[in-house]
């Protein structure tokens, strides 16, 4: 299905940009007239994906985070968050709830939150070359059912 609208955003993997990325995706998704709950789900999932780039992908510095989103006529949004960072060695383990490799107080729930809030989550990763997380959700309230 051809997208009815698309957007691209490239940000530096700085934590201050997490909120910026959330604001942009909310403003874009608002075109499909989502409920507050659905919008909250999308911005929370996006926040987890972008935070992973900041905390994990470029853990020894910063790099670019490429966010693209597309709205489809059937009321779906598809968001891709891509980095060219370290990649994930063991994807299955990384997606286990409560597993984390990060220092500090990361709960290890990033992927679990994405999976619970979105309809579909796809992760592709290659160690040494980067990770792409694809998030998909039906948001058009008139299209549900």
């Amino acid at each position: 299905m051809k997208a009815q609208n698309t957007m691209k955003l490239t940000i530096e993997s700085l934590s201050i940009n997490e909120g910026f990325a959330r604001s942009v995706i909310c403003a874009f998704a608002a075109q499909l007239d989502p409920t507050i709950d659905v919008l909250s789900d999308i911005r929370t999932a996006l926040s987890e994906a972008v935070t992973n780039c900041v905390v994990h992908a470029y853990k020894n510095g910063t790099g670019a985070v490429y966010i693209t989103a597309a709205l489809y006529p059937d009321g779906r949004i598809r968001i891709k968050v891509r980095d060219k960072g370290c990649g994930i060695e063991d994807l299955q383990k990384a997606m286990e709830p409560l597993f984390t490799t990060a220092d500090g107080e990361r709960a290890g729930l990033g992927f679990a939150v994405m999976q619970s809030l979105m309809d579909k989550v796809t992760v592709r990763s290659k160690p040494g070359s980067g990770t792409t997380v694809t998030l998909e959700k039906r948001i058009g309230s008139t299209h549900e059912g």
């Binding site: 934590s15 909120g19 959330r22 729930l109 990033g110």
Partner: protein
């Protein structure tokens, strides 16, 4: 994110306002932990009434404070949590460790 600390005998309340994410979590954590070290309360109340957004970074914050308060023989209560963060709270199982009271204004 501004954090206001209020103390009463045995109790310490941290009032949080704004977005609770990975960016804001560290300074909040440092502020609360310094206040806990100073006052050594038996109850830590995290007032989420002014929270406009929270992701799993907020879970990390609550879990970490739970562990700290457990060492002190105390407990953690989250007050006025907005219902928009209910899904993330439940998913994490944090509601089994700390008392979560909903009823914050949804922003």
């Amino acid at each position: 994110m501004p954090v206001t600390i209020n103390t009463a005998p045995g109790s310490l309340t941290a009032v949080l306002v704004g977005d609770l994410d990975h960016h804001s979590a560290k300074p909040i954590r440092e502020r609360i932990d310094a206040a806990i070290a100073e006052h050594r309360p038996t109850e830590l109340v995290l007032d989420f009434g002014g929270i406009t957004f929270m992701d799993s970074s907020g879970i990390g914050l609550v879990m970490g404070r739970y562990r700290l308060m457990e060492e002190l023989g105390g407990k953690v209560v989250v007050d006025n949590a907005p219902t928009t963060i209910k899904k993330v709270m439940r998913l994490s199982g944090i509601d089994k460790l700390a008392t979560i009271n909903y009823g914050g204004a949804d922003k």
